[in-house]
């Protein structure tokens, strides 16, 4: 059992070990959806929601698998649960905000293959968090993801006004920006203990 305090779990997941910038999880949406601030924030919210749902489910699955004594089924169960959670979020968003549904486009179903979410489920198992700790961890990781995505979107909106050489357009300049951002986040190392 892990006895880390809830606040330190949150700060650790959101800032110190930011999922995107220091653990390299969820890079695809980070590069793909970070062109506009508004979409970035909404994508972040969708990810937080999916993270909370799949974190709870993963906790449940773990108990069931421990009782059944079949730990090798863990990966398959996790991914199936995440896929269904994403489907759920997709239906909810389509019903309540068709505009947002169109704005997120292909990246909504792709949350399924967002490694941040599967990574979260795997890490919380590895760290043996209890139920409350799992929820806080999911919330922190989601907040960190949204933070990184929003900052990046802000930077890319500014970048539109700058003159970028032809060959550096797109992925290359975005990655170098991400590197600088990641450098800035390294300043938080040691904060959460």
């Amino acid at each position: 059992m892990n006895t880390e305090s809830l606040s330190s779990i949150f700060i650790n997941a959101a800032i110190v070990n930011n999922f995107v910038l220091s653990m390299f999880l969820g890079i695809c949406p980070f590069l793909g959806v970070s062109a506009k601030k508004e979409t970035a924030i909404r994508m972040g919210l969708a990810v937080i929601f999916v993270m909370l749902v799949s974190s709870m489910c993963a906790y449940g699955i773990n108990i069931v698998l421990d009782i059944a004594g079949t730990p090798y089924l863990r990966l398959i169960c996790y991914i199936a649960v995440i896929a269904s959670a994403v489907q759920l979020v997709e239906m909810v968003i389509k019903k309540f905000s068709p505009a947002l549904f169109r704005a997120l486009g292909i990246f909504l179903p792709l949350i399924t293959t967002n490694c941040a979410i599967l990574g979260l489920a795997l890490f919380q198992t590895q760290k043996e968090y209890n139920f409350l700790q799992c929820l806080v961890y999911a919330l922190g990781a989601g907040a960190g993801f949204t933070l990184a995505l929003t900052i990046m979107a802000g930077m890319r909106e500014k970048l539109d006004l700058a003159e970028v050489p032809d060959i550096a357009q797109g992925a290359a300049i975005t990655l170098i920006l991400a590197g600088i951002l990641s450098l800035a986040f390294m300043g938080f190392a040691g904060l959460g203990g």
Binding site: S22, M23, G26, C28, L31, I76, I79, A80, C115, G179
Partner: protein
Amino acid sequence: MNMQEKTTPSLEVFLRGLWQENPVFVMLLGMCPTLAVTNKVVNCFAMGLSAMFVLVMSSLMVSLLRNYIPKQVRIASYIVIIATFVTIVDYVIQSISLDLYDSLGAFIQLIVVNCIILGRAEAFASRNKPAKAVLDAVGMGLGFTFALLCLGVVREALGNGTLLMDTPYEISLFGAAFEPWAIMILPPGGFFVLGLQILFFNWLRKKLTQRNASAAGA
């Protein structure tokens, strides 16, 4: 990307993954493991080979089952197939070397959500015969390994002054006086090196296209 016809020569199917449609440098797929595990050359080999194994096996399975899987549930079926092979790889690596397993961390299990594998299953394996699907998978797998090594060699050489660190074959490159650039092993180094390499490949591709165009014009 999805326009391959049945008549594409086999050699081209194989080579495409290495250069023209390199999964990392051109299609920008599978970025997470690319950035995360490339701080050591050994990790690049392990990651590249594991991903290639999963890619080849799942392409084969998907291709064999392509006429039996209903369209509506195909993505879910592909993911279950992929997850099965990843679980196998996970246990095999754990039994071969615990050190390697620890240093790759969760990224072995995260091969499940590597977009290259699902992407190839959907775009190629589900529409082609098994032999061709395997060929394509081997090409893509090699392309992925090649890209990982491109990053890994630069990051380890600059970040630690060695190649193949933590193995019996360790090579020291710059002698004892070398001051390592710690930043290269840390996360920001991954972003910088990948960004610069994509920049370089874009430049190279542009030059080659220009030269081909001028050769055709003359």
